[in-house]
């Protein structure tokens, strides 16, 4: 499912660009808002019917240490991928820490169940191909809501294709175990987002715009590793 969708992302992006021509609303960062809002509606509907209820049940049933262990295992696998991206961005020291984290957590942390590395001061990072491209100087391009995956920019959509292609779990040969792991990861990730849902609901005048602007800010922040030049204006 995931791979199938990913193969179609470039096609979808093209469709989006075509549709965008007739659905502008004036925000320069979101030229294909009409298409995006439709996709956003679709994603919300899928979430409401299929993903959120499962995530809620998962969150309710499992004790915290188990949820933590599951999230840690996926996080541990991520660390390799994060390390590679840090190396690609020329951040050698961070990249080595990431790979070191994987070694420590896979052994001392028993297959990544325990995040021992964080406890001994090896900080976890957050990197992906979209950020690597950003670091290389490629601009974000238009905001795109990718079906199923959600908020991206044009650059991050290309990054997403690579993210998924190099994702160790999506590349597991045994299809049933791959699918179980993919679903578990989606549920675990979603469960972590549950508290944020309510806060966004409370904060947003227009949830679509709130999420869009938040996503764009967050990506900018991540690319600058938490220190983006502050856009300061005095009015």
């Amino acid at each position: 499912m995931r791979n199938l969708l990913v193969k179609r992302i470039p096609v979808l992006a093209c469709v989006a660009l075509l549709l965008g021509g007739c659905a502008t609303s004036g925000n320069p960062k979101d030229p294909i808002e009409g298409f995006n809002r439709a996709m956003y509606g679709l994603n919300e509907a899928v979430d409401k019917v299929a993903i959120k209820p499962v995530a809620k049940a998962y969150d309710f049933v499992l004790p915290s240490p188990v949820k933590r262990g599951v999230a840690n295992v996926f996080g541990n696998i991520d660390d390799v991928f994060i390390g590679v991206n840090n190396l690609l961005q020329g951040k050698g020291k961070d990249g080595i820490v990431d790979l070191g984290r994987f070694l420590v957590n896979s052994t001392v942390g028993i297959f990544g169940i325990f995040d021992v590395a964080s406890n001994i001061g090896m900080e976890k990072h957050d990197e992906d191909f979209g950020q690597t491209f950003g670091r290389w100087g490629i601009g974000p391009g238009a905001y795109v809501v990718v079906p199923f995956f959600g908020s991206r920019t044009a650059r991050d959509t290309v990054g997403l294709v690579l993210d998924v292609k190099t994702d160790p779990i999506a590349n597991i040969h045994d299809v049933p175990s791959r699918n179980v792991l993919l679903v578990t990861r989606i549920v675990s990730d979603r469960a972590q987002m549950l508290p944020a849902d309510k806060v966004i609901e409370e904060a947003a005048l227009d949830k679509y715009a709130y999420i869009r602007d938040g996503y764009l800010q967050r990506r900018r922040n991540l690319i600058h590793d938490g220190n983006p030049p502050r856009e300061k204006e005095d009015f």
Partner: protein, 212 residues
Amino acid sequence: MKIKEYSMKWLLAVVAALSFNAAALAQEQAPEVLIKNVTNEVLEIVRKDKDIQSGNTKKAIELVEAKVLPHFNFPRMTQLAVAREWKQASATQQKVLTEEFRSLLVRTYSKALTEYKNQTIDFKPFKMQAGETDVKVRTQIDQAGAKPIGLDYYLEKMPNGWKVYDIEVGGVSLVTNYRGEFTTEVRKGGIDGLIATLQAKNKSGEGAAPKK
């Protein structure tokens, strides 16, 4: 003799500087100390309060009003969120906008408090140049089994102490994230349109019973 006079002047200068500093310290806390104290105080209360933990937003709002609000500069926050359109607004409109935006932020902040489980806050090392009047205090929310989230405070030195004028969660500014939406609203219905939207939003929030 000359030396004596010189050292006397120097001594006086030191005494003056020290007493000035002492006076300044008495009336205001350093920004990172302020953030740390308020955070610890508020979380201490939330940890003990079963009502807030089970989603009693009203009680959370009372807590925020009492402990957090005095350290926030809402007119500045509103100005930053409304951005370019701020100047279009009359003094009265600016006042109403500030009140409405304030209650929106307070409700959001209070909602976040009711979602508090057992996360810990990690206060990042803080450095400040002498005479700086605009600083960022960095903290981090550590939660079991999830990526840590950055929670940063921007503070500005005011005559009555350091005041927070923006909060960034995971790199997303709570204040500037409204800019896009606010601009759209003003374009649609002017400043009054924005005020009406904010009022409607705040009304719907008040009416809703605290949900679990």
